[in-house]
Symmetry: C2
């Protein structure tokens, strides 16, 4: 049997495809070891943007991609005891005028290492007793219910064999194999370049959109896509800000959360925050260094068997300590974290799983991110934690602490009265030019500890300034 | 009442908004003059890319946008006798953390010039006897059927009052008003810049994706979006080629069909074809000039009351004549067009309507593009014609003749035998370096004739060469 090799060392497309087929077969075998029923996974179909001929780019279901490797539209795979049957229809011959010659079912089946391939019409007769995962597009979802002849519940509330399948897929996809890591490294490398391009473009940019354009151009030029809607904003205090029209002022910080996704669907997720002028003000630098200390402390602690919740609490404690040192918070850091005071400025979780989805397997709700029998905390400082499991070698997680002055939090009268004694509001006012800072990297858990996949992008404030100034 | 002004001359955001509300009210009045029943139009909602939190960018239904102006997600408008009622729910206060403070229903209602505004839950009680247009996203479509308490047929096969509404909207949207033209001019100006950037980027690009990146970066930097999936390819013979991985070779022609869409949803659609090396070969130049002659002849003939089908046939005839002159086709040009021989090399229609959709109102099927009681021809040379109406002042159409060597056509044994006497295959072989050429502009029909909205982008072969060479 052919030895798995990295994409880079594969000499020919043929060898690379065999290599991939080998990796895919191993994934199917791992799943087969966990369940004793057949599985059908649908790839989904494109959704119209404004009329049926003008579509959003097709993005196959991640579960299909994981086991089938190729994002074939309107296809299904049936997995049974490690075997794969592919179901799809060849394109109508007339489509060659518009779309060129497309690979035929048999060719795609070979690339996937399939054991058999059939027209879509055969799927119904092979669907008995199969488990599935509900896809996101409503049209394919209705087809799932029809072919399986039962109600399929949404992916975050599965029941019966679908729930068992969810657990099995989560356990397989949590730890990345060689093929996945090769893809994640490619996405990370492209993303690092995109951020450097964004920093370099800032000096001549007048609005956020121009920096975003420079960053996404790197991703497009690599024939990759954005793994999620880019955040490139001087209003970093809006956590998922997708507006890009604000002008850049010399005193602003620009927060850029932009990540590439490879053609095979694997994501990167990186944030940097830099000064528009190329120089952090002293207040900006002070807070930046607090966030960076939290980032570094978290990564330092990552190793197998450590609880990710502990990593989150380390970020919270380092931020609380830093804000006490700066005179913004008052009191004992541990007590501040226990009472969620840090969450006034760091109101989200320290990160999440990363893989085929930028929040990997988030279609499962918390069934992948949370260990069995754990549920979301109601606490202000923990309720947005997306991952609550012991780390394992092979997981990739993001580490993304931040500091934000969110008006909806800081102007909330309940929160203000609850925390009136621990916040020095006058001192805080001296940090008015820090609306939002986040530093985010993609980190592989290794047997020895961790490896930062995005380490080629500096985090040090001085190095960031140099990149913005182009020197 | 405030006089409508162009966006450029509006002095303040407030004035611009009042200006827009005036334009929107006029649109509603025009519709009210054509129908005597209430109408409910839904904006639709975002569709997930791979899990519910990772969404494709929201694009509101074009019919909603046309009458409401603002692409508010998960909203509906009820139009009755020129009055507008807005139905939407304010964002939950907790969303401010993630998305910032969003405009409230009352503010949006004011921007739209609405006569009243209600929570979404009120829509059911105001839905009796209302006509609608089916939206594209399946989730909202189900909501339409539920709230109207009837089956809503797809937008290309409406019945009853929905069919009447379709005809009325088509007639209103066919001719663009002042506000629409201001938007279409903005989209055109940005698109011209994108194409110039693509030409300038070609010399240093190694693959198609790098040129695509340079073009889309201009669109992104203007805070606009791509109106449709960009085609940037050395394989122009694949009409809707969305692959961008091919290397650029010095002898290649690069075909780029890329258009911007403004934030308010108005599209541009432009194609240029240029030599990677900066110099057309003589065979490429010969064919380019044939396609350009067709392009120019079509635009020359555009004026009110001319049948668009005639414009298409002019393109066919000029191409046939040009190919006869080059010795590729043999015989009388008129006869060649009557027998569809031109379609061996120009197998698509010469253009389409342009507006909020890049193929404007194509969700209506041919109900907008085709005059009542006209149907698609079965002829090889006419079956892909998307517009078959007399032109009217205020329409914007594309003019996009082309020449392609499509293997699926030229290797088709039936077509080869049918046209064996009119094609000089040996002579054709001398044009092997011309896989696909298209030249496309956006043209406004005026009382006096026409105005090319994208005229700032040269079409002349020599000028194109200069732009590619950067001199």
């Amino acid at each position: 049997m052919m030895q798995a090799k990295s994409d880079d060392s594969a000499d020919t497309i043929g060898e690379r495809a065999s290599n991939l087929a080998y990796i895919l077969r191993q994934r199917r075998q791992r799943l087969a070891g966990l369940i004793n029923f057949p599985v059908i996974l649908w790839s989904g179909r494109s959704t119209p943007r404004n009329y049926p001929g003008n579509l959003f780019p097709f993005r196959a279901s991640s579960h299909f991609l994981y086991f089938a490797g190729w994002g074939v539209e309107n296809a299904a795979i049936r997995l049974d005891s490690g075997k794969l049957e592919l179901f799809m229809d060849d394109a109508h011959p007339s489509s060659a005028l518009w779309h060129g010659e497309m690979p035929k079912r048999e060719e795609i089946a070979q690339m996937m290492g399939a054991d058999a391939a059939f027209p879509m019409a055969e799927l119904g007769s092979r669907a008995a007793s199969a488990a599935t995962i509900a896809v996101q597009d409503a049209t394919t979802y209705l087809q799932q219910c029809q072919i399986l002849n039962r109600l399929v519940l949404p992916a975050n509330t599965p029941q019966g064999i679908d729930l068992k399948l969810t657990g099995a897929i989560a356990s397989v996809r949590l730890k990345h194999d060689f093929g996945a890591l090769a893809q994640l490294r490619q996405a990370a490398a492209c993303t690092v370049q995109a951020h450097k391009a964004g920093m370099a473009a800032t000096a001549s940019a007048k609005v956020e959109a121009e920096v975003r354009a420079a960053m996404e151009a790197v991703i497009t030029a690599h024939d990759m896509t954005c793994a999620y809607p880019s955040i490139v904003t001087v209003h970093g205090e809006v956590l998922h800000n997708e507006q890009h029209h604000h002008p850049l002022q010399p005193g602003d910080l620009l927060l850029a959360d932009v990540g590439a996704e490879t053609a095979m669907g694997w994501a990167s997720d990186v944030t940097r925050t830099w000064p528009v002028s190329g120089n952090f003000s002293s207040s900006q630098r002070d807070i930046y260094d607090v966030v960076l200390a939290a980032h570094d402390a978290c990564i330092e602690k990552i190793r197998p068997d450590v609880e990710y919740r502990q990593i989150h609490l380390i970020a919270a404690r380092v931020i609380a300590e830093g804000l006490v040192d700066l005179g913004i918070l008052q009191g004992n850091a541990e007590y501040l974290v226990e009472t969620d005071a840090h969450a006034l400025f760091f109101p989200h979780g320290v990160g999440h799983l990363l893989g085929l989805d930028v929040h990997d397997m988030e279609d499962f709700g918390d069934l992948a991110g949370y260990e069995q029998r754990r549920a979301r905390s109601q606490r202000f400082g923990l309720c947005y934690l997306r991952l609550n499991r012991p780390l394992q070698a092979g997981m990739v997680v993001t580490i993304e602490p931040g500091f934000y002055q969110v008006p909806a939090i800081l102007n909330d009268s309940n929160l203000r009265s609850k925390y009136q004694d621990v916040v020095n509001w006058e001192r805080l006012a001296q940090f008015g030019d820090v609306r939002g800072i986040r530093i985010e990297d993609d980190v592989l858990v290794t047997e020895a500890g961790s490896e930062v996949l995005t380490a080629a992008l500096p985090t040090d404030a001085g190095a960031i300034e140099q990149l913005v100034k182009g020197s």
